[in-house]
Symmetry: C2
Subunit: 783 residues, 2 copies
Amino acid sequence: MHQSGQPLFPLEAWRIREVGFSPAQNLLNETLFTVGNGYIGLRGGQDEGFFGAAGSSLDATFLNGFYDTESIHYPETAYGLAKTNQFMLNVPNAKRIRLWLDGESVDVLQGALHDYERVLDFQTGLMTRTLKWTSKTGQQVQIDSTRVVSLAHKHVFAVQYTVTALGFSGELVLESVLDGAVKNLAAGDDPRVGSHVSAPPLILQDTVQSGSYSALVHQTRNTGFGLVSAMDNQFSHSANRAVEASHAQQGESVAARFSTTLQAGESVTLTKFGAYFTSRDAAQSELLGLSQAALCEAVRNGFAALCAAQKTFLDKFWQQANVTIEGDDALCQGIHFNQFHLLQSMGRDGKTNISAKGVTGEGYEGHYFWDTEIYVFPFFLATQPDVARQLLRYRYNGLAAARNRAREMSHAKGALYPWRTIAGDECSAYFPAGTAQYHINADVAYSIKQYVEMTGDVAFLAEAGAEILMETARIWLGIGAYDAQDAARFCIFEVTGPDEYTAMVSNNFYTNAMAQMHLAYAAKVARQLQNDAPADFARVAAAMDLDVAEIDAWARAADCMYLAYDERLQIHPQDDGFLSKPVWDFAHTPAENYPLLLNYHPLVIYRHQVCKQADVVLALMLRGDQFTLDDKRRDFDYYEPITTHDSSLSACIFGIVASEIGYHERAYDFFMQTARMDIDNMHGNTQYGVHTAAMAGSWLGVVAGFAGMRLYDGALQFAPTLPARWTRYAFHVMVRGQRLSVTVEAGKVTYALHGDQALRLMHGAQEVLLGAHQCVAVLAMPL
Amino acid sequence: MHQSGQPLFPLEAWRIREVGFSPAQNLLNETLFTVGNGYIGLRGGQDEGFFGAAGSSLDATFLNGFYDTESIHYPETAYGLAKTNQFMLNVPNAKRIRLWLDGESVDVLQGALHDYERVLDFQTGLMTRTLKWTSKTGQQVQIDSTRVVSLAHKHVFAVQYTVTALGFSGELVLESVLDGAVKNLAAGDDPRVGSHVSAPPLILQDTVQSGSYSALVHQTRNTGFGLVSAMDNQFSHSANRAVEASHAQQGESVAARFSTTLQAGESVTLTKFGAYFTSRDAAQSELLGLSQAALCEAVRNGFAALCAAQKTFLDKFWQQANVTIEGDDALCQGIHFNQFHLLQSMGRDGKTNISAKGVTGEGYEGHYFWDTEIYVFPFFLATQPDVARQLLRYRYNGLAAARNRAREMSHAKGALYPWRTIAGDECSAYFPAGTAQYHINADVAYSIKQYVEMTGDVAFLAEAGAEILMETARIWLGIGAYDAQDAARFCIFEVTGPDEYTAMVSNNFYTNAMAQMHLAYAAKVARQLQNDAPADFARVAAAMDLDVAEIDAWARAADCMYLAYDERLQIHPQDDGFLSKPVWDFAHTPAENYPLLLNYHPLVIYRHQVCKQADVVLALMLRGDQFTLDDKRRDFDYYEPITTHDSSLSACIFGIVASEIGYHERAYDFFMQTARMDIDNMHGNTQYGVHTAAMAGSWLGVVAGFAGMRLYDGALQFAPTLPARWTRYAFHVMVRGQRLSVTVEAGKVTYALHGDQALRLMHGAQEVLLGAHQCVAVLAMPL
């Protein structure tokens, strides 16, 4: 919510629209108006830049997965701590434009601005801006610009920029800039923002200017990656007046400069295509050539074609992803905004993933976390299964690094995924809430299981999935053991669960529950592969030096997994010691002391019953078939009052479980905390980037929450409810290559299957068989 | 042990003697031959310096408690982490001498060396060196030098340096150097050594040269402390030949230069007095004047007087401190060496303490730890009670900082002592094995209780002790609580005990046992003061805003303190989760993987039953009256095999408890690991400084171990045993101002009391009353 308590933008389902320029909201709007394609991210800076007070703008450009490294220095070090950080780079700004009218520089903080409007449209994928600008001498022009980062062409973006003379007659100079004088934001003490960078990570190697093409060639300081940032500029005059074109170079920037004259009613248009290529995708020697070819093709096809391809791409996306909440434009806007940003942030090449702040900010340094598997993956799995597969390929590509990390952690066998990383190496510099979160292995395993069961793509198991599952399952035998005091009980020691307000405990409930699923599934997949595809099994077993006795050990550990239950409270303790600790004194904690992590020493937090986020409750959702509704209700009742939701990952999960146990008002409240979290800047830090996991959580809130979708061991189920304030909502999910559309209205639920294979699902307690080809079942709301 | 397995020095009870110069042992010998007085520490460098390979010398000078600060940078920070480190400085080297014979520089690595011998004598407190040196042209001189750091005069040291011409005739030039070009050792990755310093911490402000006096004036970079390093040089010629004296200055050093000629049989002598004063002791403007006055007085009294005062001081020290083990010069040498170094390292001014490596090295950055209270304090309490009192004054002076730290840790009341510090502020940069060691508060309380009961100095309670006890007791109510599942059980959550191979646990046995003692004693002292000295009580209560109901709360928490007992194993679990964890796989851990902390990630260590050092076993010793011998035997049997003794604090404690439970051979083995730990460099790192806690542990091994001395609630007891290899041993302890001498021989124990008050003690199960005035009791060895 804006500080005034009012939404920042009109409540329109398919776009955000800034009506009148708000300098005070500039930093926030730069985040919200980001355009990206999962690789390139252009924060929504003004075309001409914004030259306000320090900290009022971060007009950055990010390339997902493009990083430099720095050594991690610990003031008191220990063996095996992560040694090298990877951080996403702010790369040269290729979208910048400078404009002078009769020598007077045009920017949004100078002169007089009228009729300013900026739109980010989720259906066209374009950011458009229009404004009228009057100089100090009273001359007036209109500026219209459109910015697009191509969803169809990973490396390409474009800006079309038109200046129309209204009351103006005179000289116009326009520079299209490729600005290499960029740097990463220095971070403060907030542990959620990131660490310091000691020296500029990008070193300029060369500048190239040839015809309409310009490029900067950089190398990263420590990783030695090459980067080409390039642009091509086409300039036209409506009256075909003489244009003097030249190149300019200043410091680390290059520009194409166009000078001409303009009379009232005439206009000039710059069409600027930009491209980024790095040596993470191609040989360093090829980068310049690749950028020239990509820009050449873009110029030949033209700006309109790029926009048309964008629309085609998005039409297909929305056909599968669209969530409709009838009559509530605010919620539709919030959810569409979230879905659009997820698409913009998600790497789709198997080498990249989705960072905690997407490509909108440097927070968490562009690192990927478990957020992907547990929060974002389900959205893509249900709407863009090909993207989900690429996310699993990303983990498969990270297996070598995960094996190395396991060795550093003294595991003779197996693979341990990093808590936070870009390229696969552990980058967590605070291991109690980093490396100790071993549940990352189970989270990845869970996503594989869901993927295979939702898509039916069992071939993925032989290709990559089985190897991941088995290598990562081994770690549970490394960190767990049969209780030295009770040999029938498999325990997992010294881990941190999702709740980071408790650290380094034994038998964290979430970890044990997920490890149980992981071990059992790994054993099942191993045995299936052994039976069904012995050659594949032999290949994988050889690659990982598998002793087949290990498979039985996994199954046995799963069978004996200790899932504690407190008989007195009839709840699941979060860990072995949790329930003995005193409950946090919420009554005497002033509102300004939240989030607790910014106001209390970790030991103070750790020694209390207080949760940052869903932990047991998340296990209730992911492994919901293992628990009764009464279990879930009691656990929810116990943990909800002691959870601060200081993590943006929390509210959506509590909302989903609240739906399931019939706490409909609470569910709705939680949903409302996520649906518009970023668009209303509810956590007060969206100016530094969006919260991708919470964005996905809002989709989960509808589909897994109100509609109750679950996939348990391949069985798809729904248990739809209709929030009291709504009349109708609808969404789609892709199941085994077919689109299933679900519409929930008062008293009835409609399932429409678009495909040629029958589908069996549970509607509440009722089994439903949808025949092939547009079969529709209209059912009464389940009890 | 030397690498050859042979001792480095002849086995002489009262000295170490280097016979023949050993360049390979230079760094180690610099530690062993350190001379100090608890304030100044001069590492035992050669007078002329040692110019071998990099890392072969650290000819440093330390002033106990003189430090600079640096910001602690965490790669991932959190609220309340220690922000500023304090580190002991290497100050200007004022002992250095340079000598040229006919222009040829004399040092121990040039020319030919004969008849080299160096002695550090524990009775005279002098380091003396003699050698003959032959130049490349065959000219020979003898050099005799004596170095003393005055135990009687805190700020003063002296060197007497005589050059006698043997075959030599010619020109002699001698420079007495005050070398300011010193710096702290850059540290490597070993977490036990220390952290990096970014910029030179000492900034030269001025140089002063006047007559025989020279000084360097420095200021510390961040703390802004002033430092004056000064010297006075007296030069004499046996034949009264002409001497040309001048001052020299080069870079950051100054020197007094003496040129003369020497004929065979003649000699020259430099008598150099040095002094250090800092603004931690006096106003900055007074430092130069203080150094001039101190040196003037030293010169007037002369070198011999300084040595005589040293002998007088040490005679008194040894009268009370001497431990004799008849017929075992190796052990006598080891223990005397340890005692002498403890004296040399111990601050006696109430503003300083004893650092982990004394004044012999930079390891642990000159920080003070709990080592003082639990290991070193008992030695001084029993032999130099005035020094023990000063150690408690040190803690009293740190109470303000401890109150501040408690506030940072969200305690509204109370004081939390720092885990490691110089001036009182928390300097621990790894809180799981730092700030989490809350037992420091109980350790301080324990030392106060022992002090009062051993000395009878109850006035100390009203003066300082009660305030410390009560302020620090409050923290237990802050971090502990009645079990949320069992209201009769007071638990302490999220602490780390002495065993640093386990971290952040609930109900660490040592912590709970010591907190119980602390709470009960604080309540008892509070009530006594309230009754006996209401005015004092009122003053202290007002100073700490005490609610008298708090006193009852302390007593109740002590009564209800949870001291877990495992019925199945009949042992005390180290913490709530300890016994469920798997035991470390010692069988498959190669010898080179110890110490574990240098070869395994903390999480790997933490998740196993493996101890770095005594934890439960230490509680058995300190609170021994609370446990039966059978308890102790079972706990010892359980914990000893899973303890690596990777900490130098471990072996002595296990040895003491082994003695008590009748494991005499084991006790002897443990004792042998501490008695000569540094003199034989058994941990391989004495070159970087001695291990002061282990040194004190060797004294404890005799007195608390073999002789079984304990002081439980004021009752002194002995239970002497005689190791099979010994015929007789003897020691003294100071009890209520009187010296008690204890001699143990085959079959009999002699207690001799030097004082005028009767003393009651327990000899095994037998109560003994020693009358006043040299009363001697000769008793049979207890069963």
